[in-house]
Symmetry: C2
Subunit: 295 residues, 2 copies
Amino acid sequence: MLWIWKDLGEVAGLDKKLGVIVTDDADSLFAETYADVVIHIACTYLHEVYPQIIKPIQRGMNVISATEELGNPYASDPGLAAKLEKLAKKHGVTVLGSGLSPGFTSDYLILALTGACSELRKISYKRLSDLSAYLGGTVGRHFGLGLSPEEFKKGVEEGGIIGHIGFVESAQTIADRLGWQLDEIKRSMEPVHNDKGQFVSTRTVVQGIRDGEVKIELVLEAFVDPEMETMDRIIIDGVPPIDMVIKPVISSVPATANALVNAIPHVINAEPGLMTPGDLPLVFALENDLRLFLK
Amino acid sequence: MLWIWKDLGEVAGLDKKLGVIVTDDADSLFAETYADVVIHIACTYLHEVYPQIIKPIQRGMNVISATEELGNPYASDPGLAAKLEKLAKKHGVTVLGSGLSPGFTSDYLILALTGACSELRKISYKRLSDLSAYLGGTVGRHFGLGLSPEEFKKGVEEGGIIGHIGFVESAQTIADRLGWQLDEIKRSMEPVHNDKGQFVSTRTVVQGIRDGEVKIELVLEAFVDPEMETMDRIIIDGVPPIDMVIKPVISSVPATANALVNAIPHVINAEPGLMTPGDLPLVFALENDLRLFLK
């Protein structure tokens, strides 16, 4: 192997080697190695990751990515999605975007709960999450955490503050499976400040609308207060009604990693092309040898 | 058609016809009609329903049944399960046992939640349910609702009081998917009386045990008190931990019917043989034309 590599333990600043090779030379990696599937965690937007993921695809490797827009690329970037789908089919591989949201709480779990329902009227999801740990980092900047109203406004204008990306994709995945022809998917993102002008939270809201009625509503309140109660709540207004609460909130980092890894056999088994979390079979923790689940 | 039939509206004592034909002559029905799938709701035990469901199977019809032991027939009646599986494969059909429990809360939903997890240590499910509406009926008799300690004891001895059947099947389905080799599945069923000897609830507990450790615990508290709080609670002790509460409890009758109906395209698509709720793909409410989901 000609490419430079380090041990993951070294890169992570640990005292010991972990036996996992890390490299920053993706071209050489994909040229010299083969895998059934590549787990990809990088950026948010499809146009950013497109040049990255076509490399393993062109080598015939399936891809599972945490890229939010890949949660339903036809909802976010139809042109690039069609191009990606064509390429995946040409090389006989499957591409799935998944994670916690999109991928689990805001689409997959909602659809799973509707499995006990009929006569659905409305679906609501709300996540109340404390992002104190992300203050100062990339996530903190994306949410404008801790900023004054003026700073927040400036950050939005300059494009650095984007809120949660992925709900548009989740709403489309839910609508696709339920056969709801939405007229519009509306998205808003705004800060909440208290009456002293202090930052409370960043609220991202996505609404799937049909005939003037909100059929799907997905909300994230991202606040900076480790004392506040956190939760994931899904309300299915149907027969029977279901009001589900997970308290505290499902921890995003391990859940994202697990959603990607636990999907591996199902992505390997799937038909070539793009798939969304709504196309998955029942995904469970891979405590078992994953090869048992390969067709 | 030679067999006697009535309109469902007539049988249900309504003033109007519903356009749904009802008959008590299953032999003639299955001899003279064909369907892709038969939804079967009758009894609890496999040996009771075996003679009923082999009729549609022999005519090449898939079967989705609410029979609790069919939720994982190899866990409850391995001999009859093997016979049934052979017959299903011979006739190229699929047989699924599903419903609310087994079928949804006590196995399918648990497995779906583990999809965001790794390093599972223990899985717990508890349903607190008010069965006041069933007092005096078949369900009420099965649970010994309202009985004194002596009456309850007698009912158990005579075999009429059985508690909830289906948790053994659910525990096996969870263990199968997670690859947990259980040493034993223990089941207990007992009444709870207050200190005045008044009936409070019937508690059914199933434990899946490995190396002396309870890995799976499924509990139903069936009480007779419309004022008491009801809930379904699933606790996944893993990474991340998940503590899920659905309050009030998912209503059993509509949820059972929906779990059966929403599985239709997935059962038609499945390979011939027996399947458990753990073998299903993502099951969602069939708001859409179900034919869209047929392969």
